[in-house]
């Protein structure tokens, strides 16, 4: 390791050694044990490694790790809490938007970014917004349902308890 970087990871400052050619995904998963950041491909296609870099959605496998020096990285761990889910998470729960769930953190983060930067949208816009994320289980339908209902009630009710109908 040849380069030292300091950045904020999910609200905490971390300083860690890396290399110019190390993807952020690897640094997060292997040096910082951030296993909530998933790994699925070598080509930047699947989106499971998605994180927010200064609130902008990026794929951590396509981000050189040293690039985040001095910046803020948010993973799914910083979106909602077990007791108080983020509205996007609540909608994913309500709409059965996860099956195996491996893709889910990436979709949630992409959706968070999309909603924060979009006023009005329809299902076609939602499809485009999640184009960078692959899901093998759901056929995307329930994920799109979840996103669509977020449009209807942007200030989604955060209190909907888990597991009740």
């Amino acid at each position: 390791m040849t380069v030292t970087v300091t950045f904020e990871l999910d609200g905490e400052s971390v300083t860690v050694e890396t290399r110019p050619d190390q993807p952020l995904r690897e640094l997060l998963r292997e040096s910082l044990d951030a296993k909530q950041v998933k790994s699925g491909c070598e080509s930047g296609r699947c989106g499971v490694c998605t994180v927010l870099l200064d609130d902008t959605v990026v794929k951590s496998c396509l981000t050189p790790a040293p690039k985040v020096d001095g910046r803020r990285v948010r993973t799914i761990a910083d979106i909602g809490t077990d007791e108080d889910l983020h509205p996007v998470q609540t909608k994913f729960v309500d709409n059965f938007a996860a099956q195996c769930g491996y893709c889910t953190p990436g979709f949630v983060l992409a959706t968070v970014d999309f909603l924060e930067n979009t006023d009005e949208f329809d299902r076609e816009d939602a499809k485009k917004a999640i184009k960078g994320n692959v899901c093998r289980c759901t056929g995307y339908e329930k994920i799109l349902d979840a996103i669509e209902t977020l449009d209807e009630e942007t200030d989604a009710d955060r209190d909907s308890p888990l597991g009740t109908e």
Partner: protein, 776 residues
């Protein structure tokens, strides 16, 4: 929910359940869209999958994989690799445990393997391995490989310790070499029937090699404690996997224990059974080093060694009368097994043989199927093994036949469909519950409603198609050999632990099991914890989470246990409260009697444990009728699936939202098969073995409008009437789309995927059999 006093029937087999299914469902029992019990960890990202697991002092493995498809390893020198800093062991192929001869059979086959303190070191050490391979003439075409004189990949039916192989007698003189499996069957007199038929229609169909593309790539950790091998990885069919691994590694079945990671990954068949170059390699390295060894497939290796759907070639000849009655069907199929067999590979052929007879009346039938070793990447199980390919061929053919006799394809199908209670043409018992007519009717109605009044412009060709499909539930035999047991323990705090052989692969089986317990016992689903019983448990299960048997059979066992638990509980409570069992009502964990309302935990002083059991005396068929509307761009050949209706008989929807999710997922895999995906290879070397190059469907390829019609035919033998869903919902998808494309462009693409290029050239009026021009 009202609990009746337990009946006198204490039989442990699955009860007829039509009546029960019609009972008013509890709020979150069966028949309701209860939230998934595993969802919180998934949306929060706290779920830990196979590739996330780390264990102390684990070594990392890297595998040197063949770049040539066929050869004999003369020497493999791992000395320099062993000497690398951080490398703990390097094994040549012949030093690996189990069946590893000196032959390389496909690109990606294992040459040597390294275990090191970290993955990078392991990969770097691979570069230090020197080897010498004598190349042999490879064979890539299954139809060629089976002929006399073809290069030998394996002797016929080699014993690679894979179970459920069956003795074969090859009656076709042209099938000589590389035979993995062979099936021939006939009833009636096909030659005579074809001779006298009003129309005889003959066509060939080819289906592509495709990959599951599970997002979490294969990853396992193997470790040994004395003579006991432990493998942690997602496997659906744990019992068979333990046996096969044991045999392959030449150790006792009991010496192999497979456990799944905290959250298993998706499978689609890709994780049902062990893979040659995966678990055995990690096990060997772990034995050698005495430490746990972790082996993870990079994405490209998923394509090389993660197994694919068998590529198949079909020839179908059908005889029909003028008024559209099928008189004969002659089918021949050649399946490409690739370099190594898979423990259920033979099912490709038996599904190809049997499934048409579950749907249609075919008085004269002749079938021959052979699966053949080649130097392509190995094929294995992929959602709808064999039946996906066979249904594509059959339902495309039926469409063609209907057009030839000038009948509407739907009417043609209805005319030849087996009816409920009618014996199959091969003499096998009657179809019990077939929702197929309802699938057709309701599907058609919905399809017409939503495709109504669509205008089309000159820039588009619109076509509509329909296809049927069926698949049996469970292992297919229905002979009572497939069993499942489940253990329920109610603790004094009122929570229940359910131990089953199920594996939650994303299909929602844990949620279904907790719904069943909730329904039977009257506890909330969150109070039910679903666990997998360990291999050492005294519980029985033959197959685990494969063949769409989770809900049907494992669910049956849970239900059986649930009824027992309920009656014991009610007994205890009535004793404690000194009332009649008939007066006890348990709802959402609360006990109500005429006199009081208390929680279970207040009354229960001792745990209750019961074991339930279910036996598959049946293999009920599930049916689907799927409808597609496509829009083809005449200027580019691009196909847009505009509308899709999947009407699927699921017997009974224990969780309707999850049923929809399964159907929608099936449509995705079917759309890919129909128009997107194909693992292309040049001389056995996959050309598109990355997710950037191999096309997986995005939301844009999915139908713009997708409707799922859930049909409930109340299967007599399944819990609450449920039957299989995951597998049966896939086969009709691709042929429905293929038939719609045929309708739009006037020509049939017989070799999916119908990529824009294939469609474009087919449209230009070329003969559909003609190869698309290839550039040098």
């Amino acid at each position: 929910m009202t609990r009746e006093a337990p009946g006198t029937d204490s039989s442990r087999s699955i009860q007829a359940s039509r009546e029960t299914a019609e009972q008013p469902p509890s709020k979150r029992g069966v028949g309701t869209a209860t939230k998934r019990t595993d969802i919180a960890s998934k949306v929060r990202g706290t779920a830990i999958y196979g590739s996330d697991v780390s264990r102390p002092s684990t070594l990392h493995a890297a595998v040197l994989r063949a770049e040539t498809p066929h050869g004999t390893l003369r020497t493999v020198d791992t000395t320099a690799a062993t000497d690398c800093d951080g490398v703990v062991a390097a094994c040549s192929r012949s030093e690996l445990r189990g069946f590893f001869d000196d032959r390389i059979r496909h690109v990606g086959d294992v040459i040597a393997a390294v275990a090191a303190t970290d993955r990078e070191t392991a990969y770097r050490a691979l570069e230090e391995i020197e080897y010498d391979v004598i190349e042999h003439e490879p064979v890539f075409d299954a139809a060629t490989a089976v002929q006399a004189g073809a290069p030998i990949v394996h002797e016929n039916q080699p014993d690679l310790k894979q179970h459920r192989q069956h003795p074969i007698e090859v009656t076709n003189e042209e099938y000589v070499n590389n035979i993995d499996d062979y099936h021939a069957y006939q009833h009636g007199d096909v030659d005579e029937a074809l001779n006298t038929a009003d129309h005889v229609i003959e066509r060939s169909y080819t289906t592509p090699r495709v990959s599951h593309c599970n997002l979490d790539t294969h990853c396992c950790i193997a470790s040994w404690t004395d003579d006991q091998l432990h493998v942690e990885t997602t496997l659906g069919n744990i019992t068979q996997a333990q046996e096969e691994l044991g045999d392959f590694l030449e150790i006792d079945h009991d010496s192999v224990e497979i456990t799944v990671p905290p959250t298993p990954s998706s499978s689609f068949g890709g994780r049902s059974l062990p893979k040659f170059t995966f678990e055995p390699v990690a096990a060997s390295l772990s034995e050698r080093t005495g430490r746990p060894v972790r082996l993870e497939f990079p994405r490209d290796v998923e394509f090389l060694a993660g197994e694919t759907r068998h590529k198949t070639e079909w020839e179908l000849t059908m005889g029909v009368t003028d008024d559209g009655e099928i008189t004969a069907l002659q089918t021949s199929v050649i399946a490409d097994t690739g370099g190594y067999p898979n423990g259920v590979g033979h099912i490709v052929l038996s599904n190809g043989r049997d499934r048409p007879l579950d749907m249609y009346r075919i008085p004269n039938y002749e079938y021959e199927g052979v699966s053949v070793f080649t130097n392509n990447v190995p094929a294995g199980e992929y959602r709808g093994i064999g039946v996906t390919q066979g249904t594509f061929a059959l339902e495309s053919h039926i469409d063609e036949v209907a057009r030839t006799v000038g009948m509407d394809p739907l009417t043609f199908r209805s005319r030849n469909l087996l009816e409920e209670g009618e014996d199959r043409s091969n003499g096998r018992g009657p179809i019990d519950t077939s929702g197929v007519t309802e699938c057709l009717e309701r599907g058609q109605r919905t399809f017409e409603r939503i495709t109504d009044d669509r205008s089309s412009s000159s820039n588009e060709l619109v076509g509509r198609g329909v296809a049927l499909g069926t698949h049996t539930t469970g292992s297919g035999a229905g002979d009572g050999r497939d069993v499942s047991e489940a253990e329920l323990t109610m603790r004094t705090d009122g929570t229940v632990t359910a131990k089953t052989a199920g594996v939650e692969l994303g299909q929602g089986s844990d949620t279904v099991m907790s719904q069943i317990v909730a329904h039977e016992v009257g506890v909330p689903p969150e109070a039910v914890r679903v666990e997998r019983f360990p291999a050492s448990a005294a519980l029985d299960d033959s197959l685990g989470a494969v063949a769409s048997r989770s809900t049907y059979l494992i669910g049956g066992a849970v239900r059986d246990a649930g009824t027992q638990l309920s009656s014991t509980l009610v007994d205890r409570i009535s004793t404690a409260l000194d009332c009649s069992p008939a007066d006890v009502r348990i709802d959402d964990g609360t006990v109500h009697t005429d006199r009081s309302t208390v929680s279970i935990s207040d009354l229960l002083e001792e745990e209750i444990t019961v074991v339930g059991r279910a036996t598959a005396d049946d293999a009920p068929a599930s049916y689907g009728a799927h409808f597609a509307e496509v829009v083809v761009d005449p200027g580019t050949g691009h196909v847009d699936v505009r509308t899709f209706v999947a009407a699927q008989d699921v017997g009974f929807a224990i969780n309707p939202k999850m049923v929809e999710g399964q159907l929608e997922g099936a449509v995705l895999h079917g759309v890919e098969f129909a128009i997107c995906s194909e693992l292309r290879a040049d001389n056995g070397i996959p050309e598109n073995s990355s997710l950037a190059d191999y096309s997986v469907a995005s939301p844009v390829e999915m139908p713009n409008q997708l409707e799922c019609e859930i049909i409930e035919s109340a299967e007599r033998s399944g819990p609450y009437g449920a039957k299989g869903l995951g597998t049966p919902s896939l086969p009709p998808v691709a042929p429905a789309i293929g038939n719609a494309i045929r309708d739009a462009i006037g020509n049939r693409i017989t070799n999916p995927p119908a990529t824009a290029e294939r469609v474009f050239f087919a449209m230009a009026g070329r003969d559909f059999d003609e190869e698309v021009p290839v550039d040098e």
